[in-house]
């Protein structure tokens, strides 16, 4: 019962802040609402008995990535209003179009999964079911090792690219 109340309040907060992210005029406020969103998502993870993922969500997303977003937003002067376009309703039309596409996709996935239920995840060898950290670590370094390595390569490439773009002399 308490869980349900907690879940619905947090879900409402997440959705509310998400709407505020896209509707507020000030870019910095938008980013701040995003941070709050992430914090509430972390709380949801805690509800789902995944404390490790929750803490990582705060540490990486809210505490790292969005800080850098904030740096960029603050350093770039975004107070200029967007230029008037020939079609003033262009954005609304685009928005509706994308919403429709997403809805279609969600419907397609729902019908597909109800028709073919997903098989149980094969427990890969002896997975210690002690805690969330161990579970995530086990999966990450056995079944999902290659995506993990590719992701780290990607980050490395991004870092090198950023350094080369920003340095004055190498």
């Amino acid at each position: 019962m308490g869980q349900a109340i907690a879940f619905y309040t947090m879900a409402a907060a997440i959705l509310g802040f998400a709407v505020l992210v896209i509707s507020t005029r000030d870019t910095v406020h938008s980013v701040l609402f995003l941070v709050l969103d992430f914090l509430f998502v972390a709380a949801l993870y805690v509800l789902l008995n995944a404390p490790f993922v929750a803490v990582i969500q705060v540490l990486v997303y809210a505490g790292g990535i969005v800080v850098l977003y904030l740096f960029v937003v603050m350093l770039v002067n975004l107070k200029r209003p967007p230029e008037a376009h020939q079609d003033p309703h262009r954005r609304t039309k685009l928005g509706f179009g994308m919403a429709a596409a997403v809805l279609l996709e969600v419907a397609a996935i729902a019908t597909y999964t109800s028709a073919n239920p997903a098989p149980a995840i094969a427990a890969s060898a002896a997975m210690p079911v002690t805690g969330n950290t161990e579970q995530v670590g086990w999966l990450l370094y056995t079944s999902y090792l290659i995506p993990f390595e590719i992701a780290s390569m990607l980050l490395l490439v991004a870092m090198i690219g950023a350094i080369i773009l920003a340095k004055r002399e190498l």
Partner: protein, 340 residues
């Protein structure tokens, strides 16, 4: 009911109050210790030996006029000091002051809670604290506080990397992320982790100095002579919150260092029965003494060393501490896999 609700609430109240009192008296401690290092006495007038000085400071700051710049972003301006202060306080939820003890006939654990990702919780909360500085600089609606705030926060997030890497080495040695578990690991291993991981301890100490914007890494604060610093536009109690947040962060770093490296609540040589007479000292007293020692060294370092220039500071963080921390991690991991 009592065990599930009242006792944790009581613990929270006690810990919060103790922390806040500790933070205000940190101010006095710093003034006194620096004064003694400089052949003078520090505050002596208010109360015997200046003991009531923090109260005088608090009263002064509370009755000061609260100025908000005209075109500042009001909500963010108000929120920034709070965002600075809150993370420093909520970290105390996982810091263990002692094991389970018998208190008034009940088994009470001397920590608010023991999450099994306790250490990661500490790091993630600390990383949220950076927002206070960025938002303070931004909401002042002025070029210099903004730049100074961005600089100070860049310093913080750079040293966060080094500090987190050292914490990972400690986790490798202890085998658990829970704070209580780490102290227990030191107990069963009969050795404080400061001796097992000396380099991690050193890097943690230096990183801790940089994380809390303390000398020798306090150029973003000292340069306020030239550029204003991120808290230029703050006055009265809001300004006080920033400074208290800095001291609160210092106490947090000391507490975390005590738990991770100095054995937490353990008395020296817990396995040596001959020193059993030391057991009359309550466990939390050992914790406080060790934290206090750490804090004293922080203040001592401030009184002694000159300060780094900003580019030298960043170079130290990225080019010296992070490689050392990675090296330490690799060596620890290799030894852990091969030998233990």
């Amino acid at each position: 009911m009592i065990d599930g609700f009242v006792i944790p609430l009581l613990k929270i109240v006690i810990v919060l109050n103790a922390t806040l009192v500790g933070v205000t008296y940190m101010v006095l401690l710093e003034r006194k210790v620096i004064a003694w290092a400089q052949s003078r006495l520090g505050p002596m007038r208010v109360g015997p030996y200046g003991i009531l000085q923090p109260i005088a400071d608090a009263v002064k700051l509370m009755i000061k006029e609260d100025i908000t710049p005209v075109r500042a972003d009001k909500w963010v301006f108000t929120a920034a000091p709070i965002i600075s202060m809150v993370p420093a306080l909520i970290v105390y939820a996982v810091i263990p002051f002692g094991p389970e003890v018998n208190l008034f006939g009940r088994r009470v654990s001397l920590y608010v809670t023991d999450v099994n990702v306790g250490l990661l919780y500490v790091v993630s909360v600390a990383s949220v604290g950076v927002y206070g500085i960025i938002l303070a600089g931004y909401s002042s609606n002025s070029k210099y506080p903004l730049l100074a705030g961005l600089r100070a926060s860049a310093q913080l997030i750079s040293y966060e990397v080094a500090v987190t890497l050292t914490l990972v080495s400690v986790i490798l040695v202890a085998g658990t992320l829970s704070m209580v578990g780490i102290v227990r690991a030191q107990e069963s291993g009969h050795v404080w982790f400061a001796f097992v991981q000396p380099m991690a301890f050193g890097i943690f100490f230096i990183g801790g100095l940089a994380e809390t914007n303390r000398a020798p890494f306090d150029l973003p604060e000292a340069e306020q002579e030239l550029t204003g610093g991120f808290h230029t536009e703050y006055s009265g109690m809001r300004f006080a919150l920033f400074f208290l947040a800095e001291y609160a962060n210092m106490i947090v770093v000391s507490s975390v260092a005590t738990t991770l490296f100095l054995g937490g609540w353990l008395r020296p040589f817990p396995n040596v029965a001959a020193l059993g007479f030391l057991d009359f000292v309550p466990v939390w007293m050992w914790f406080l003494v060790k934290s206090f020692l750490f804090l004293y060294v922080f203040i001592w370092v401030r009184a002694t060393l000159p300060r780094y220039r900003y580019d030298q500071l960043m170079r130290l963080g990225w080019k010296v501490l992070i490689p050392l921390a990675i090296l330490n991690l690799v060596v620890t991991a290799v030894i852990r896999v091969l030998l233990i």
